[in-house]
Structure formats: structure tokens, C-alpha cells
């Protein structure tokens, strides 16, 4: 199942996972509660949640104005040099 990161604009009294879970457009999506609600820019009131499933970003953003972006959760690895060899 695909995994995404959803960026949300939340006011100080809205920054709980419970608030996010009941938002139209988001309550139908599987939100990773273990991951939680993470602040990514305190100045800009931006937060992120991790979700799974098939998501139509354009549709979600049109339903829910608090959603500011739907992004990929990219795999990352160490930049230790691996010589060219068969894995």
C-alpha cells in the first residue's frame, strides 16, 4: 500500500491528531497514529501526518483546505560508497 505525507495548516487550537482525524476528506483515510502529528514549521503553523492508501491529492485538497500538500515518503539510504558490484 502506498504511503504519503500530508502537510496541514493548523491553528494552535487545532494541532491534535484527534482534530485532524475528524476533518472531512481525512477521516476516510488511514492515518498512522503511531507516527502522530508532527510540527514542521512552527512559524507557518505547518504540520505533517503519515497516511496509507490510494489518495487523489487534487480531490483531497479541494475537499479540505487545511491540506497544503500531499507528498511522497521517499526511501533514503546512507551515502557510504558502494563499489560497482552485483547486489
Amino acid at each position: 500500500m502506498k504511503r504519503f505525507l500530508i502537510t496541514l495548516y493548523l491553528l494552535p487550537d487545532e494541532n491534535t491528531i484527534q482534530f485532524v482525524k475528524q476533518l472531512p476528506g481525512l477521516k476516510e483515510i488511514e492515518i498512522d497514529e503511531d507516527y502522530g502529528l508532527i510540527v514542521i514549521s512552527p512559524k507557518r503553523n505547518l504540520y505533517v501526518v503519515r497516511v496509507s492508501g490510494d489518495i487523489d491529492p487534487d480531490k483531497l485538497m479541494s475537499i479540505q483546505p487545511k491540506v497544503k500538500g500531499v507528498h511522497t515518503d521517499v526511501k533514503v539510504v546512507p551515502t557510504k560508497f558502494q563499489e560497482n558490484r552485483e547486489e
Binding site: R3, F4, L5, T7, Y35, G36, I38, V39, I40, S41, P42, K43, R44, L46, V48, R50, P57, K68, G69, V70, H71, T72, D73, V74, K75, V76, V77, P78, T79, K80, F81, Q82, E83, N84, R85, E87
Partner: protein, 547 residues
Amino acid sequence: MSEKIKLLIQMRYTTELRNALTATKFSTSAVPSLDIPGLSLDENYTPVKIPKRETRKSIGDMEVGRLFTFDARPEVSTYLIRGEVEDENSLDRLTEKVEQDPSAVAVHSDARIGTCPVCPDGPVGSHKDVAHLLNTTELHANGMDGTNVMVAIMDTGIKMEYLRSKGISANFDESKSWSPLHEVVFKPGNFPKDHGTMCAFDVCIAAPNCTLLDYALLRSQKRGETATEGFLSDAIIAYSKLLELLSTDEQNKPRLVVSNSWGMFHPSWDFPVDHPGNYSDNPDHPFNIIVESLEEAGADIIFSAGNCGEECADNRCENVTDKTIYGANSHPNVLCVAAVTTKKERLGYSSKGPGRLDPNKPDICAYSHFRGSEVYPADSGTSAACPVAAGAVAAIRSVYSLSDLSPVHLRNKLRRTAEDLGQIGFDYSHGYGLINTREFITPPPKPVKPIQVGEPVSGNLRKTGESAMFKVTVKNALNVVLDGPEMQDFDLYVRKGAEPTTTHYDDRGYTGTAKEKIEIPLDMGEYYIMVHSFRGDGDFSLRTIVE
């Protein structure tokens, strides 16, 4: 028979040399003073004109890498001629002759070059060589050793026990560390000896007294195919923990360096560039936003450039070697580090710019592919270059507070003072050049010189950043007048009862020159006056005049 020694001779302007630039064949008669036994000049090599290079007198804050001006007029230029000598004795004779010849400048080696930067099989030098090249003896003697600086290793976890066995005595703070695993076995500081342990070792080359924090974000095993990979969502949590750390005490903000030897290796790992959910080219990806937030909160963030340099790219790059500094590794708010050997040769696997988010990447180079932690045969990749640079930054941070030097100013100074490698100025292989700690070494404090009102005094500032301190007892309102050299920028700072610094003062001058004037109102007491070189060097004079 031994091989002849190839060389280049740099000559001053003559009309014969200028004419030789357009001749079909170079005639040795153009340089009669080089008629030396044992030297043969290459008649097929047209002399090459080298414009005169001069250090710029005035450099704007944003003009990093533009340190020189060039004058290409024939009469001020010099000219390179190619030749060869039989042996070392002939070379010595030639060098001696050239030194005495007013029309000659120097003899240079015409070194053999290959098409590839180095792709070494084994380590080149050791961590002791890296320490020497980073001037750690001098740094540590000036208190620049990482004391009171936290360095977060954002990696696969650290094995502190192993580091201790290698003589590393850095502090470790488990309470400020974090792990994505909820298992008890792998607690911060107790992960298997791996990539993260190598990074921690390399930080300690320049910053042996730092406090290590373990952020094992590449140990997210929920979805990763191997034990040492993670996801950006893990990195976001890790960064949010660090953001909390810097937000708890605004007045007494901890000094934090964040070392990131990781990244993505191929565009297929990401959404396409034109997709709004893309990471690599998208400053609005949540990880790129939190990087910006953490830097703004006061962290010095260092990233490896990546290992997709075209000459010997990592196999995970899958032959994609163009624009391979992806996402946060190319973020404008981080220091992106490319890799060179201890012989200052670019490692062919080091990713080249332009960066995806900020085209002017990498920023600088640091050492890699040396025998160090012994976690692997060589501490390699831009993975090792990144913590080497992070350690140097931590050492610098020991004495430069955030108010002395903000993260952006520190990055700019690192770029501006880097030892230029490759092409002159910035290039996509080396950035602004090799990390150079020498410019950060604080000179020992100068004694305060008491002066009398009306007494003219003089002094000299030898380089940017240097200061001279004076003390005067004020009984009347005074004018303090500074007069320094043209085209330099010296600043005047005044403080009552204590020595001023560039951040703590009662009054200061604001001209962009070395001529400044400050009025001290009638408020009797002892005043300290500092003359500080914001840019440049030279003699100055100072007068205190009763109004």
C-alpha cells in the same frame, strides 16, 4: 633511460612573446634568456597568456567565490612556455637561472593528468592526516574542540562502546537522542557498529570534546528492505525532536550541528519532478520545510552531496549522474559537502552540481576515503566527508556563538574562505573549494591599550576579523575618529565599562569604509574602544577629541 621532466616556464611580457601568441610556430628566439643547456623548449606549443590576477579589495557579503579580478592586457599578463629538461640537475640549474632572470616568473611542473578524478581501491591516508589538514592542533589550542556543542548523527545509530575502544572521549547524551525503534536492544548509543559509528568517529577528528546525539533514522525497519535504510517520514520525526530541543530555551539556545550522510540515489525512488508530491526538486516537501525550520531555529545542518559522480558512481545511481544532489542535500539552508582525498584530489564518485533545490551546490569539499574508524577498510563516500566537515563546524561553534555567527553567516564564511580547487572560484565538482578552518582560528586576545584624550594613536589590523582594543577615561563629551586605509572596511565599537564585541556594544559606526566617527556623550567613566576589521587589512589611526 630515465624520462625527461616536463615543465612550464612563466615569463613576463615582451613584444616577442605577445607576437608569438599568433605565430604558427613558437620560435625559441623569442626568449633568448632561456637558452640554457639541458633545456629544450616545445616549438609546437603556442605560448599561453595568463591574465594578471589581483585580490579584490572589496567583496560584498553575497559575492562568495568572486575573490579576484583579472587584467588581460598583454603588457601586464604573463606567458607560459612548455619545455623539458633531462634530469633533476638540469631542473635545478633552470630554476636558479629563472630566479635570477627579471623577465621570468617561475618554473612549474607540467604534471601528468588523467581524464578521471581518483576512484581509489583502498584508503588514501588516515584520520591523522585529516586531523593535520584540518589544523586540529591549532584549533584545539584555541578552544575549538567541540566543547559545549551537540552534534546529532542522523544515521544508522552509534555504537559508543566501539568508539570508546578507538580512543574517542566525546560526551554522549542519550536523553537528547532518538530512535525510531521501540525495542530495548537497540537503544541510542548501542546500535550495531555500522555507518553511523563511522560518522561519529569522523566528527570527533576535529571536535573530540563535542556531545554526540544519536538519531538512528536509517534504522526504520518497518518498510525498509535492509537494516540501514529509512524514509523521509522518519527523518521528519527526527528533525522535529531537534526542533523541540532548540525551542525549549530561547535565551540560552544550545549549539547544535546536524550531520546527515544519507540521501536518495535515483529519481525512480521519488515521484516525478513535475508531480506536486515530488521531493527531490520541491522546496514545499515537508522534509524540506522542516530543514528550513531547524536551520532558522539555529542549527548548522550539514549534508553529504551523494555518490553519483560520473567518474565512478555508486551502483545504486543506476547510471544517472546528472543533477544528482537531490532534495535536502541541495537545500539552500544546508552546507552540502563533496569529497576529496587527503591529497586534495576529487573523489570521482562525489556527486556534482547543480543541486536540485539550489543550483549552487555542492558548497564545499571535505576529506574522505581515508583509514579512520576501521568500521570499514576506508571511511568513504561523501558519507565520511560530511561528518569531517560537521566536526570542523562543531569545533568552530565552540567559540562562535549564534549571535557571533548565525548559521547562514557561518556557511557564507566557510564558502568564502574555502581553499579553491578545480576551476577558479565556484565549480560544480568542488563547490567553493576545500574546507579551511584556519580563517576561524581566533587570535589570542590583544592587550587593551590605555590612551589619553587628544592623544593620536595608530595600529595595524593584519586580516579580516582582527581587532585592536583601547581604553579612555571620559570627563567630557568626546568624538572618537577612526581613519584607516582606502577600500577596506574597519568598524569602530564603543562600550562603557567593558570591552565591546561585535555583538555587545553601546555604539558603533556604520560606514562601509575604514573612516568612522562616534560621539561619546558626557557620561563620565571608562570607555573601551574597539577597531575591528570587517573586511581587509592595513594601518589605522585613532583620535579622541573633546567636542
